[in-house]
């Protein structure tokens, strides 16, 4: 049994794809690309795919991760190409490595987000960021399945800074970019919640919806606020060990039969 970890994107208009929509599209792409998937046992066998930590509907992403289990070995790079061709443009598969370590999900500790705020000056954004960071706690509300829920949006934020948009905008309109690093905690703090927090602490109210993109996920260096590539350990292991042996050792890992959402390990 070979396990492959993939990094994929949600770009442009396809950022409106919900996670459920993506799952269906991905499983069909697996069929079109004739990937020799391993199937779960049982009455209605499902291909073994583990999704980790999907970005909310409507936000773009450059760094989504999943893991698949194959019944036959395949070259990760060729598989990436095939799957990328098979998915609509915008849902692009951009990295592929054979899993040689456990705990991909455990390595997704934090996300780097970029929020483009059209109609907001960099000065106003910087001011709001300062107020937000100065607060000990920023209570925000979000509607969940169980009604309105109030929680702190401040503690999960590891890093937040404001800048101007790159390039001169022809219409001279104001535009600010926020760079945000959020720890993955429960309940999850999303970019939207941080925007609510900026509104609560500094009355920052962008006139149009922010364009939000996840740039990276990975291990968080608490000192620098840097987020490191979660696939790096698999790549390092690949250079250290011959492929077949590593593939077999990975197959011994327990828990492979329950690809629950959010469980990136096998």
């Amino acid at each position: 049994m070979q396990r492959i970890r993939l990094r994929y994107t949600k770009r442009g208009r396809l950022r409106f794809t919900s996670h459920r929509d993506f799952q269906r599209a991905f499983e069909r792409a697996l069929r079109r690309a004739e990937v020799p998937m391993a199937y779960s046992a049982g009455f209605t066998p499902h291909p073994k795919v583990s999704y980790a930590n999907a970005a909310p509907t409507g936000t773009g992403s450059e760094a989504e991760y999943l893991e698949i289990q194959l019944a036959e070995r395949r070259d990760p790079d060729k598989l990436r190409e095939l799957l990328d061709e098979s998915l609509p443009a915008g849902l692009d598969v951009i990295e592929s490595v054979e899993a040689r370590t456990s705990g991909l999900a455990d390595r997704l500790q934090a996300s780097v987000w970029q929020l483009r705020l059209d109609g907001v000056t960099p000065e106003a954004a910087a001011h709001a960021v300062e107020a937000f960071l100065a607060a000990e706690e920023v209570l925000v509300e979000r509607r969940t399945k169980n009604g309105m829920r109030t929680f702190d949006a401040r503690a999960a934020v590891a890093h937040l800074e404001a800048a101007g948009c790159q390039g001169d905008r022809p219409d001279g309109a104001a535009c600010a970019i926020l760079r945000l690093v959020v720890r993955h905690v429960t309940p999850a703090v999303r970019p939207d919640d941080v925007l609510s927090g900026l509104r609560a602490t500094a009355d920052l109210a962008p006139p149009v919806p922010a364009a939000v993109t996840r740039l990276a996920q990975g291990l968080l260096d608490e000192e620098t606020g840097a987020v490191t590539d979660p696939l790096a350990p698999d790549r390092d292991a690949a250079t250290a060990a011959p492929p077949t042996a590593a593939g077999q050792s990975a197959a011994k890992a327990p828990g492979g039969a329950s690809p629950a959402a959010g469980d990136g390990t096998a």
Binding site: R13, L14, F16, T17, S18, R20, D21, F22, R24, A25, E27, R28, A29, L30, R31, R32, Y39, F43, T44, P45, T57, G58, S86, P88, A89, G90, V208, P209
Partner: protein, 640 residues
């Protein structure tokens, strides 16, 4: 005019439910450069994306048109009220999901009506597109509004809103219309819109309502429908595609990102049905039977699965087990796709055509969920009236085999409100369900046997023998179904094993008004729309009271009312609103069949007995086209 409205739309999408349905980009969708084409179609399915996207009719025409050089087709669907409100506020017009162009910029807006309940959604789309509601108010700047689909066999209730309508199969028709539009545009649009419509009308197969005047009698009935200019034919003929193997569409079915009602690779295995069920409009208007060959089906399934990645194949038709080679088709496909875990489904199966070998093949690679049959009528007598020649013995024998082979659940469909029906006919539905359960318990030796009874109200449809029949009122329908419910619930021994699902009679009355309505009903539709009516096929949006209010406001000036259109029985002499639309069926034959229904006389299927002169083949110059071909499906070589 044709610039993408996506930037404006994009700003609204974070605020609406399921935004993915508005962004397009489906696998196998096509966007052609606007300037490279001289005839441009917008194709609409007037319901939500999740219902409209899998529609085979729209998918076929989309592909047929886009394959043509110099022609483009894009799709548009009804937007939900949340987005509609935002589009009005921010002045975003009705758009296509392919390139997000405004619908008003196209040459034609072709709307496919599977049901009359999409009429209010047509008005919403026209309004959002900035197109005047009525044909008479449109100019050369506006697209032609063209209707197709089964409901177009009586387009009279929306006649004022349409420029033209096509009855019958659309594949060839859209290409003929394209050529007429192209020629007219290349000539510099001589005579404007009227001339274009006249050229279409002259073909005899495109209906242009405004070239016909409807005259009424003092009592409200129609006296006649006459062309109001020379060169326009008295009757408009339906289109019939003769060789389905020459039209293997869709070749590249659309695969949406959003969730839709049917997620499978559908292949139409034959078109038309001559079983002769008297309530069934589809069976009457799609004659004769034309089969796709077993090899043609095999090829479409193979290519379609490769193009889509679907995990289920649906073999579609009006009665799929009637294909002359259905056994070989099912076995061949099940063999081919055994490894790939691809399921097969046969959405319409008759009790008398069912056999267990077929059922076993269908469920070999997939789930064995439940079996569904449609006896339609509870008593032997009423089944003779509707010419659904399925005996109780047939049904019991079939379910007995099914339960004996491991099935645990059977679903039965019935109708309530059929002509000549009494309470007794409907109460016998309960007896039938009891017999099914009893047989199931006996054969399987188990008690966990289920039978679900699902009942819909009967709505008389144009171009059927029941077009003259009185519809049962909503109150009587409800009362009859309550008696049946009480009977089933009161059954101590079997009641708990019987599921009972039914719809109340009110939506059926609105459907009846629209089905057999004439041009005067257009005022009701418009009033409902103006009162906020949308998505009438959806229970949460449909309002009976709104329809009745609108009818009370608009119909009295014509001296008619809702009952006049629905529960009134028509006489032989009456001119029916759709008589000038020729489905090929001889009106006298329909009348005889109606009389046979009242006499409880059955009529055979002309595939297996001599022709009984329904009129279609001679009138339309068509013939029955069926196998068997004797060919088999070969396993595909899998390249690994």
């Amino acid at each position: 005019m044709s610039e993408s409205v996506f930037p404006q739309l994009e700003a609204l999408l974070p605020h609406v439910q399921k935004p993915i349905q508005y962004v397009g980009g489906e696998l196998n969708s096509t966007v052609k450069p606007w300037e490279s084409c001289d005839v441009r179609w917008a194709l609409m399915y007037p319901d939500a994306y999740e219902v409209g996207l899998p529609n085979q009719g729209v998918m076929i025409l989309y592909e047929v048109l886009n394959e043509q050089e110099g022609v483009l087709a894009e799709r548009t669907y009804s937007v939900w009220p949340d987005l509609e409100a935002l589009m009005r506020e921010h002045e975003v017009p009705q758009f296509t999901v392919d390139a997000h162009r405004p619908v008003g910029a196209f040459d034609v807006l072709g709307v496919s009506f599977s049901t009359e309940l999409g009429y209010t959604n047509l008005l919403t789309a026209l309004d959002l597109a900035g197109i005047p509601f009525e044909s008479k108010d449109r100019t050369d700047e506006h697209p032609l509004i063209l209707a197709g689909g089964h409901a177009a066999f009586n387009p009279e209730p929306i006649a004022d809103f349409l420029d033209c309508a096509v009855v019958g199969d659309g594949e060839q028709a859209v290409l003929e219309i394209t050529e007429i539009i192209r020629a007219w545009k290349n000539e510099g649009r001589p005579g404007g819109r009227d001339e274009l419509l006249f050229r279409l009308a002259k073909t005899g197969s495109v209906y242009v309502p405004k070239f016909y005047d409807v005259e009424y009698l003092a009592d409200g009935r129609i006296s006649r429908v006459v062309p109001n200019r020379s060169g326009v034919p008295w009757r408009v003929s339906k289109h019939t595609v003769m060789d389905l193997d020459e039209w293997p569409y869709p070749k590249q079915p659309l695969v949406p990102l959003a969730e839709t009602v049917h997620e499978r690779m559908s292949v139409e295995i034959f078109r038309g049905c001559t079983r002769g069920c008297r309530f069934c409009q589809a069976g009457m208007i799609t004659r004769p039977v034309r089969e796709r060959s077993i090899t043609g089906i095999g090829e479409m399934v193979d290519k379609g699965l490769k193009a889509t990645g679907f995990e289920e194949v649906g073999l579609l038709s009006l009665s799929s087990a009637d294909h002359t080679e259905i056994g070989d088709i099912a076995k061949g496909l099940a063999d081919r796709y055994e490894e790939d875990k691809i399921g097969l489904s046969l959405p319409s199966t008759r009790v008398d055509a069912f056999n267990i070998d077929l059922a076993n093949e269908l469920t070999r690679n997939g789930r064995r969920s439940g079996l569904t049959f449609a006896p339609e009528g509870g008593s032997e007598r009423i089944r003779k009236v509707i010419n659904k020649m399925v005996s109780e013995e047939d049904l019991i024998r079939t379910v007995s085999t099914a339960y004996g082979n491991g099935w645990r659940q059977v679903k039965l469909y019935f109708m309530c409100g059929l002509p000549t029906e009494t309470d007794e006919d409907v109460l016998q539905i309960g007896d039938m369900a009891v017999k099914v359960i009893a047989e199931g318990r006996k054969v399987s030796g188990q008690n966990d046997i289920r039978c679900t009874v699902s009942i819909g109200g009967f709505v008389p449809k144009p171009h059927t023998p029941f077009q003259w029949a009185p519809q049962l009122s909503a109150e009587e329908t409800d009362a009859r179904l309550e008696k049946l419910r009480d009977k089933i619930r009161g059954d101590k021994k079997y009641g708990r094993s019987i599921g009972f699902r039914y719809h109340d009679g009110k939506p059926g009355i609105v459907e009846g008004l629209l089905s057999r309505g004439d041009r005067r009903v257009g005022a009701v539709i418009r009033a409902v729309y103006e009162d906020g009516g949308r998505f009438d096929g959806w229970r949460e949006h449909f309002s009976y009271d709104r329809w009745m209010r609108a009818a009370e406001k608009t119909l009295p000036e014509f001296g008619v009312d809702v009952a006049w259109y629905t529960t009134r029985e028509r006489e032989y002499e009456e001119v029916l609103p759709w008589d000038h639309l020729d489905s090929g069926l001889d009106k006298d034959w329909l009348w005889e069949d109606w009389q046979d229904a009242l006499d409880e006389t059955e009529v055979e299927d002309c595939r297996w007995t001599p022709c009984f002169d329904c009129g279609v083949c001679p009138q339309m110059d068509t013939q029955i086209q069926i196998g068997p071909t004797g060919k088999k499906l070969l396993p595909l070589t899998v390249v690994k």
